[in-house]
């Protein structure tokens, strides 16, 4: 099966060219600018200038602190939940699966403004606490707020990865330990958790990267002394020439790649493979009554917290006046009318950009999966690695890189500047969401046995015909799941979107939410647009789970890539 035809080479080269033009060059431009002295020479002056500014040092420390604390709190929430679902007879499992998805359907920056109303200084919770006990909790103050919001948003990454890893552990290990008298915390901390460590590390490093790079949440919460907001502020208010902005970008990139590479190294360092896999799952144990109470209590608490941004945004979208009261006083549907009257264009833009980006993603993803898994093309893994690098690329960096690299490039036929056209969104979303689509396509192709293709070719089908009639139809579920994942994650992207939006008529919904949220009368419509985005993403997520489930009936977790 391992043959290389000219057509395959051509496709591989085309994909490589695309990735070089829209991923490698923009990022390289950013890195080059950070090290360039303006006359083409190399300099470290910008870095020493960065290190000389105490605000930058502080932002750096704050970003590390927030990302680290978010990982810690996410672990506290996710580990018990994952252990519960996989190892115990427990009716709440479906609740926990819901928990794993709910936060992901709400963009963190949308949730942030709603959580301000619920947990802020005069939010519902603090008003109740003040009334009852005369105290108030500084949950949303400064860095606390960012950690709080991001934890609720990103803990599912750990939950999903860890659940998948736990489900794959050979039950004989646990049984042996139990036979030798180990149980409870000791069993978990000495046997189960270490075996599931690769899954945990993968999730934790993803959380770290996402939080370290996030721009929308700190901006909405008025926290500016972190790296991503500083990069944004420098480049938007001082200008695209400001070298410090690029230095920050380089630091963001280095840390993201380091976190990702570190997690790989960590997993590869030791052998985590177990002899048999996927066979008998460990028998689920029973919970004692007390444990049941604790488990349900914990799940209810987390569920309430996780639902709070959704609830908040829903209330806000229907409220006329909500000020210094636990709940809004008057309700209206006028905000939805405003959105549909003024902002249908933004909703349409989201469908157009994200739809196209997701379409490109699955086409490229399928092609790469095929090249990597089914051909012997030299250097084919490079494509896979390049795409994975895109996962670690912060939106701010790519946005700034695009603005700088493609500045002055005009589209043909009088289309104006590339950076001022809607194509830039499609390109940016395509590149950043490609890893999601690629994972789905790879997984889908791995489940198609090569013998089916061999059979087709033995019967005289050409390779192209085999791909079209056999491979792609068999991958359909995975491709659709990849399409939906790319689409919904692009629909709620904000870091690049803020940077790349040059005109309101080009703006997608995510920018619209941000824009509406900047005026008193706009808060309601902004929330309404947020609810629409959440519904859209929720439906998409549900559909993608259905596709995955329909395609792989034996997959117990149905997790996201």
């Amino acid at each position: 099966m391992n043959r290389t035809s000219p057509a395959v080479v051509a496709v591989a080269l085309a994909i490589a060219a695309f990735l070089v033009a829209f991923l490698v060059i923009p990022v390289a431009t950013v890195v080059y600018t950070a090290f360039s002295d303006g006359q083409g020479g190399f300099t470290l002056a910008h870095f020493s200038a960065f290190a000389g500014i105490s605000l930058m040092r502080e932002s750096f420390a704050n970003s590390l602190y927030v990302a680290g604390m978010t990982v810690a709190f996410s672990t506290l929430i996710a580990v018990p939940l994952a252990y519960l679902t996989v190892r115990f007879q427990f009716r709440g499992a479906i609740l926990i699966q819901t928990l794993g998805v709910l936060p992901l359907v709400m963009p963190a920056f949308v949730g942030a403004s709603a959580m301000q109303l619920l947990f802020g200084r005069s939010g519902s919770v603090n008003l109740i606490l003040k009334d009852a006990f005369g105290i108030s909790l500084p949950l949303m103050e400064g860095l606390n707020g960012v950690i709080f919001v991001e934890t609720l948003h990103y803990f599912p990454f750990i939950l999903l990865n860890l659940s998948a890893a736990l489900a794959n552990i050979d039950s004989s290990m646990e049984e042996s330990a139990q036979n030798l008298g180990s149980s409870g915390w000791r069993l978990f901390s000495r046997i189960v958790f270490p075996l599931a460590l690769p899954g945990y590390v993968a999730g934790a490093s993803l959380v770290f990267i996402k939080v370290f790079d996030d721009l929308g949440t700190p901006l909405v919460l008025n926290v500016t002394n972190m790296l991503a907001p500083q990069a944004f502020l420098r480049v938007t208010s001082i200008g695209i020439e400001d070298p410090i902005g690029y230095v920050i970008c380089v630091i963001l990139v280095v840390f993201s790649i380091a976190a990702m590479a570190g997690s790989w190294w960590f997993v590869k360092r030791r052998d985590y493979a177990v002899v048999s896999r996927g066979g008998a799952m460990a028998p689920r144990r029973r919970l004692t009554p007390w444990q049941t109470v604790l488990a349900y209590g914990w799940i209810t608490l987390v569920l309430l917290l996780v639902l709070s941004p959704h609830l908040g945004i829903l209330l806000l979208s229907f409220s006329k006046v909500w000020s210094f009261t636990v709940l809004p006083e008057q309700f209206t549907i006028a905000h939805y009318a405003t959105v549909f009257e003024d902002s249908t264009r933004m909703i349409w833009n989201t469908f157009l950009y994200c739809g196209l980006a997701a379409l490109f993603d699955v086409i490229i993803g399928t092609a790469i999966a095929y090249i990597v898994l089914r051909t012997a093309l030299p250097g084919r893994h490079l494509l896979d690695h390049l795409v994975t690098v895109a996962l670690a690329m912060p939106g701010v960096v790519l946005g700034i890189g695009y603005l700088r690299t493609f500045r002055g490039i005009e589209l043909p036929f009088g289309g104006g500047a590339l950076t001022a056209s809607w194509l830039i969104f499609v390109l940016a979303y395509t590149v950043r969401r490609l890893p999601f689509a690629l994972r789905s396509c790879m997984a889908a192709l791995q489940q198609v046995h090569p013998s089916l293709e061999e059979a087709a070719e033995n019967l005289g089908a050409s390779r192209w015909r085999t791909i079209k009639r056999v491979v792609v139809p068999l991958m359909a579920g995975g491709i659709l799941a990849g399409f939906v994942t790319s689409f919904i994650t692009a629909a709620v992207e904000i870091s690049e979107t803020i940077l790349l939006t040059s005109r309101e008529s080009l703006a997608p919904m995510s920018y619209g939410i941000y824009l509406y949220m900047q005026s008193i009368a706009g808060r309601g419509p902004g929330a309404a647009l947020g609810v629409i985005a959440v519904v859209l993403v929720a439906v998409g997520t549900y559909l993608s789970h259905r596709f995955v489930a329909a395609n792989t009936p034996q997959n117990p977790t149905g997790g996201k890539p």
Binding site: D37, G38, A45, A49, G52, I53, S54, L55, E58, Q116, L117, G120, R121, S122, G142, N222, V223, T224, N225, P229, L233, T236, S237, I238, G239, I240, E241, P243, V321, S323, F324, T325, Q330, D342, L352, G355, L356, L359, R407, G408, L411, F413, G414, G415, G416, A420, W422, S502, R503, E504, S505, L515, Y516, M517, Q518, S519, I520, A521, G522, R523
Partner: protein, 433 residues
């Protein structure tokens, strides 16, 4: 992908490509104004001139300046429309604006002593704005905080932790408020007042809108805002009030034609529209609530609507926009270094002083006086602030590596000094007997 879907998608892409080809007159407006205002103007303008298309590009004032500056000649936006007059000074001294000549003759030349239009003809006043205090009536009642009247009230201990202000480097209107206080009270006293106010503040918000938003939803008690934020919130039914303190200035929010845009004719048409009877009336809409520059419009305004031509606002300060422009970057940087980026330390120092005052119960203490001085003295004194060398350094081209380095060094000196002062103040105040 089934064929039907593919065809639909192809059609959709084709229709979306149409705008790429470009219509006759697309007027691009760079503005810091909220969506209600821009949407109202877009609708009204496009209804009146169906051939034109209005493109809104929402950016805060500083980002808007940077954006206009970075666009190549010939593809710049047509219109720059924002509150801060100094932004227009910055643009016009960078030769980025086109002369537009005299406008609607019914618009008076001056409001108070301040010219409504640019004397050189590069930009025109489109609405008037004053700066003031907005508060949440429920919040003040619940926390037993008295209603403020003047800026000077806000430095009192009773307001500790209840105020909010934005940062002038992020919000042009906040910069005007800061300059108004500095010009109204003088440099040294003005900074002392600003440091007192911000020391009492619960937050320095990233966006100017963060202040009225926080006051409206009850996160903050009192905010320092431009008038229409307060008036619009009140008119939308929020439990808030707004006053103009006596140290305020009435300054026009301006509109200008950017030089080197694609369709200057369309741009001029839009400017004329915003200054016409029709365009000015839009300002009275409930959720916009701005002050028109055309005096005849006030006859249509609801009762109690402030009228700067009718004497309902006392504006003691005659805003000097040349002075403001000359020290623009120095003031921004000082505010950020001493307040925005050191807010936690400033609040801690303020708190230590308040605690000491309470403990001492009115007794004099040299240590406490020293602590107060450390907190309330600006890091740059009046003489240094007028030093042409310093001012030039802060205005220098961003590409000039030497200048940026020198500037970064000065900023770092300020930052270090301020941080040490606040720490020392905490120490002195806690030890005061």
């Amino acid at each position: 992908m089934n064929r039907f879907l593919a065809r639909r998608l192809a059609l959709a892409i084709a229709t979306s490509l149409v705008p790429l080809a470009g219509l006759a007159d697309t007027v691009t407006v760079v503005t810091s104004f909220p969506k209600e205002l821009t949407t109202a103007y877009k609708k009204a303008y496009e209804a009146k001139f169906p051939g034109d298309k209005l493109e809104i590009l929402n950016k805060n004032t500083a980002a808007g300046i940077a954006y206009v500056r970075e666009q190549p000649m010939g593809s710049r936006p047509e219109i720059f429309w924002a509150s801060a007059p100094d932004a227009f000074e910055v643009l016009s001294s960078a030769k980025l604006l086109a002369k537009i000549g005299p406008g609607n003759p019914a618009i008076p030349a001056k409001v108070g002593n301040y010219p409504v239009n640019d004397p050189e003809g590069f930009y025109r006043g489109q609405a008037l704005a004053g700066y003031g205090l907005m508060w949440n009536t429920r919040y003040l009642k619940a926390n037993n905080v008295p209603e403020p009247k003047e800026w000077a009230d806000l430095v009192k201990p009773v307001y500790f932790g209840h105020l909010a202000i934005s940062s002038p480097s992020r919000s042009g209107t906040t910069h005007l408020t800061v300059e108004t206080i500095l010009q109204g009270e003088g440099w040294t006293k003005g900074w002392a007042q600003l440091l007192g106010i911000t020391g009492n503040s619960a937050a320095i918000t990233e966006r100017s809108f963060g202040v009225p938003d926080g006051v409206s939803n009850g996160q903050f008690g009192i905010g320092l805002v431009i008038d229409f934020f307060g008036l619009a919130a009140k008119n939308s039914g929020m439990p808030v009030e707004f006053v103009y303190p006596s140290v305020t200035s009435i300054v026009p929010a301006n509109i200008a034609l950017v030089d080197g845009s694609k369709s200057p004719e369309g741009g001029k048409r839009f400017i004329e529209f915003t200054l016409s009877e029709e365009g000015q009336t839009l300002l009275l809409q409930k959720e916009i609530s701005r002050l028109p520059v055309l005096p005849s419009i006030y006859a249509k305004a609801p009762a109690g609507y402030p009228n700067p031509f009718g004497g309902t606002i006392q504006a003691k300060v005659n805003f000097d926009s040349n002075l403001s422009e000359s020290r623009y970057y120095v003031v921004l940087s000082m505010f950020d270094q001493a307040i925005t980026f050191r807010h936690k330390e400033l609040v801690a120092a303020t708190k230590a002083i308040l605690d000491a005052e309470k403990r001492l119960g009115g007794r004099k203490s040299p240590a406490l006086d020293e602590a107060r001085k450390l907190v309330l003295t600006p890091v740059v004194d009046e003489k240094q602030a007028a030093d042409p060398k310093l001012l030039a350094l802060f205005k220098a081209d961003k590409k000039d590596a030497e200048a940026s380095k020198a500037k970064a060094k000065i900023e770092e000196e300020w930052a270090t000094k301020v941080k040490a002062n606040y720490a020392k103040a905490v120490e002195l105040a806690s030890g005061a007997k």
